[in-house]
Amino acid sequence: MTEPIVTEPIVEVTGLHVSFGAIDAVRGVSFAVHAGECVAIVGESGSGKSVTARTLLGLTGDGARVRAESFRIEGRDASGYRERQWRAIRGGRIGFVLQDALVSLDALRPVGKEIAETLRLHRDVPGAVSRAETAGRVLELLREVGVPEPELRARQYPHELSGGLRQRALIASAIACHPRLLIADEPTTALDVTVQAQILRLLAERRRRGSGLLLISHDLAVVAELADRVLVMRDGVVVEDGPAARVLRSPGHPYTRRLLAAVPMEHAKGTRLSVAEGETARPIPARPPGEVVIEARDLVRTFGRRTAVDGVSFRLRAGQTLGIVGESGSGKTTTARLVLGLLKPDAGSVEIDGRPWEGLTPAERREIRRHVQVIYQDPLSSFDPRFDVRRILDEALGVGGEPRRTRRDRAVELLEQVGLDASVLDRRPSRLSGGQRQRVAVARALAPRPRVIVCDEPVSALDVSIQAQVLDLLAELQADLGIAYLFISHHLGVVHHVSDHVLVMKDGRVVESGDVRQVFTAPAAGYTRELLAAIPRLDPHPDPHLEDTRPDAPLDVTAPAVRKAS
């Protein structure tokens, strides 16, 4: 079969509508993906981006109603496809990769079997392999996606593989039958930044080989690395659509501008991330460093044979933010728990305002605890499910010594401080939005008038615009109240934005520490350089290949010369 040089799009939809009952998830979305092209759909949760992607596979879900003015896959009308026809498309013509292979691969089967499954289900497509060739092809695929020792890996279960290898295996199962289009729905969201970079390179390689790529992501920076064309979705509607370079550099729609402004990496501390329409960002004033509030000396903590924290020391001053950054398993959270006095160090000490946790009576410890508060990644689990906001704040105020009769007024005051009003007092956190919950968590942390707040991944579960609001709130509170933050995150951009000083951790040790600007611009340690190089950037390094395949470039260069099969 000869491939025409100028192809029609692999998929093309116009006026796509998807509704679940009375809810319209997708309203009038149109786009096309060509061979060798990467189209990205960007949006926050609830934007309808995933629903759109699944509709291309006929897997919209139970009870969904799908309408489109036209819906073509490889030139054929797909709007009337039956289950049988869809099954030939899925895995055969279009491959699908979800986020987090730990849950996206069947945990009870070896990964080799999962890859073989795609081959087994498509014995009649061009380039299919026979039963006898299957095992060999599985190994070949694993090699192709960069999995070392494929013979060993094919027999292993998902939980026995690292996050990166798992994600590669998942991609191998999606591309096993050479689908012309690969849909990747948040393919790197659960991964550490260095692994994320590797997976993005792998996806870029697929595109270079002529596969179409539809990338779904909430992360503008990830999209910027890869996409030729970007669709920005919000509430089921495409608000902006155009070549990636244009959309990301000179966005036309205010929502796109807001999303871009909310990305913390690009903005120094003091810049506001959440900017309402028509408002100019007032900078948030910085405070001069005050006295030392936390002093950690040579902290060591082991769990069984594993050393989680190994010789960590730092000093945090009032009004300042110390960021701790590291990938999963680096010991960040253990350090936080040691600071909070929830864990005892095996060696070393933590002093709060010059008083060490060790050697205190329980009453004295409780007195110190008031000064060190905490907010978590998942605020909901940090609230008693039976408590409404009033009781949550009441308890925290009680501990702070607030007299009973003034507690209500003080609670309302706290809520106002975090940008909420008294109407949430009688609601349970489970009935609040993610951003509101985190604000309640901040209000509770403020209640006993602490000196320090330990923030453990406080914005990791939030959409980028909500994340921006919470980060701004934290910055304002610091400017007003002079609170110190110990800010823990795996996200280098966030840490860069919020911190005065940073600690880069790896395997329980501090590999580098110092002033934030110095660490991020002139990193001394190799590991820090590696981390920084792996961060996807809004303004990616110029890549000659990328330039070539922009859809607005002349069409005759769209299809690369090499195609493996079909």
């Binding site: 609830g46 929830l342 409780r366 998942d378 008693d384 499910p385 501990v399």
Partner: protein, 282 residues
Amino acid sequence: MTTAAITAGAGRARRVPRPGVWAATLFLTLVAVAAVAPALLTSGSPDAADALAALQGPGLAHLLGTDANGRDVFTRIVFGAAPSLLAGLGATALGVTAGTALGLLAALGGRVLDEVVMRLVEVVLALPTLLLALLVITVTGPGTVNVIFAIALYTAPGYARLIRAQTMVIRRTGYVEAATSLGLTRGRIVARHVLPNAFAPLLVLATIEVGTALVAAASLSYLGLGPQPPAPEWGAMLAGGRDYFSVAWWIAIFPGVAITLTVLSITVVGRHLRRLSEGRAS
């Protein structure tokens, strides 16, 4: 978000009781009335034998027929509600109380106590429920109180295990950690956060388990180990009708209907409560 919105919507819809829940509540109310004031529902006496009216089928004179002694089956079922319910409720209450005490002892009393209590619990759980009850009754002899005791003895370990597991889980939750960070005392945290959250699922489970205990008690009565004749107890009435299957099916069938409907209603109401409490937690 879309799917989340849909499930959240379904969660809200479930808060409104379904018709089945209303019917079950109504039936349970009737059973409760029968247990407390049987005279409100029937004018007869459960022991009024009438040899001339023996083995009459259901009809106008005797709504659900009569038994071999000519006693009215409906009246006996109404009067049987009290001992039958008492056994189910009593056994559950006793089991929950003992189980909670043991569970808390294990969870909060330190490692040694935990090991001892939990091994004991494991031993009792390894003995098949009904057989353990039979062993108890062999020792104590038949009777309502002994049946209640026997059932409580084998249900308590289950509750103990649940309370302990709940307590252990809750002690490691974010909200207990948050309360610790606030500087609350250990006693306060246990009283205010751990216990109430550990109890909630237990109480819901216990509601449903009243039904299971009721069936267990009825089984023991059926085997002749509960209240002794001529006491009107549903399980015992069933046993009395056993010999008349082929000629007078109603003697055994209607007490069985009473047990099944009661247990069914308890299960329906209990599950509704569980849905409510889960909807609140998530």
